[in-house]
């Protein structure tokens, strides 16, 4: 049996690995935070389930993390995407699936990245 499916009511965190992913004027998340890379994000865009990890723990998984943003699973699904857990050994980790890479479909990749960014809520800086 695989890891449990995420409920619509759940929220997930996305680590902001670059300070440039937050607009310095509006302090909102930019679409850069949601661009799927061709190889590194092979199975999807990494997120972390708030049921299993606190924002500080998410930030702690990376060498440099400039903040964490939060998204509702229901909002992600409304965009035609899905969020799936990846393994039982790391129950906090999940991926947003359905996002094309920029090279695969630039228009769709940009549209979905903008929409995800608009739905993301910045939780505050967690600089290391």
């Amino acid at each position: 049996m695989g890891p449990d499916r995420l409920g619509d009511e759940e929220t997930v965190y996305r680590a902001l690995l670059r300070k440039q992913w937050v607009d310095p004027d509006t302090h909102t998340i930019k679409r850069d935070a949601f661009m799927r890379r061709p190889q590194k994000d092979d199975d999807g865009l990494s997120v972390f389930r708030s049921r299993f990890a606190r924002p500080e723990e998410v930030a702690g998984r990376f060498q440099r993390c400039h903040g964490v943003c939060e998204l509702k699973v229901s909002a992600i699904r409304k965009l035609g995407l899905d969020v799936r857990p990846t393994s039982e050994t790391d129950p906090a980790h999940a991926v947003i699936v359905g996002l094309p890479t920029y090279d695969e479909n630039p228009s769709e990749a940009l549209k979905l990245a903008v929409e995800l960014a608009k739905n993301a809520r910045l939780l505050g800086k967690l600089c290391k």
Partner: protein, 244 residues
Amino acid sequence: MGPAFLNDSTITVTELKDAAALHQDPEIACHLVTQPVRGVFSRRRRTGLGMALFGPSFRLEPKTSPCPRLRESLATLVGGLDLYRAAEETLSASEGEGVSPQAVAQERLAPAKELGRKEGLEVTLSRLGELLNEPETDDYGIARPTTFAYETAVGLLRKAAELMHFPFPRGSAAVDHEGGIGVTWMKGDRQLHLLVPASAQKQCMVYFYAGKDRNLDPLPPGSEAARILANWLERLCKGRTSGG
């Protein structure tokens, strides 16, 4: 002086607005007007200035930038008011010489006008420059832009600014995972994204987003690219969402 002085001359008010091009971007206007005015000018004077820039609804707000360039710009603008009045007086003393006070004011306000128009460009270029200080790589990928991406982005922004009739809007910059650069402009629900690839093997693109109205425009090599970018930036500033 004060509000009465400004109300005396509608043309002066128009020229002042134009000088800062503030009517296009209230956020920049706030930056230009609030803190520097408090620090430098009397209450009577800044009330007059406020009316000139925003009309009766103007109010001083604490959010501002302490940027010396903006203070300089503001000082020049306020100087422009006096210059305009001086221009009127000069003209009345030498009537019939064919020089309108508007033309005199326009000429004297030119430096301030230029400064106001370029403030957004300078901020954006500065943010692009900061990317060069990033480490080569980080958890996400290549963190520092390639020379090609940086020089292409700077060149495009500078050329587009020269072609624009609107003040250049402030943009923010980010590096993609390959060392390319994305520049983003946000105006309410509208966004414009310039995508500059890491190398010449890929094409520069402009992506406009306004809800259901979206457009991805490839930028051809050469000067045409700057013209297309300038057009999209003007559409972003104007609030028009349709392409073409």
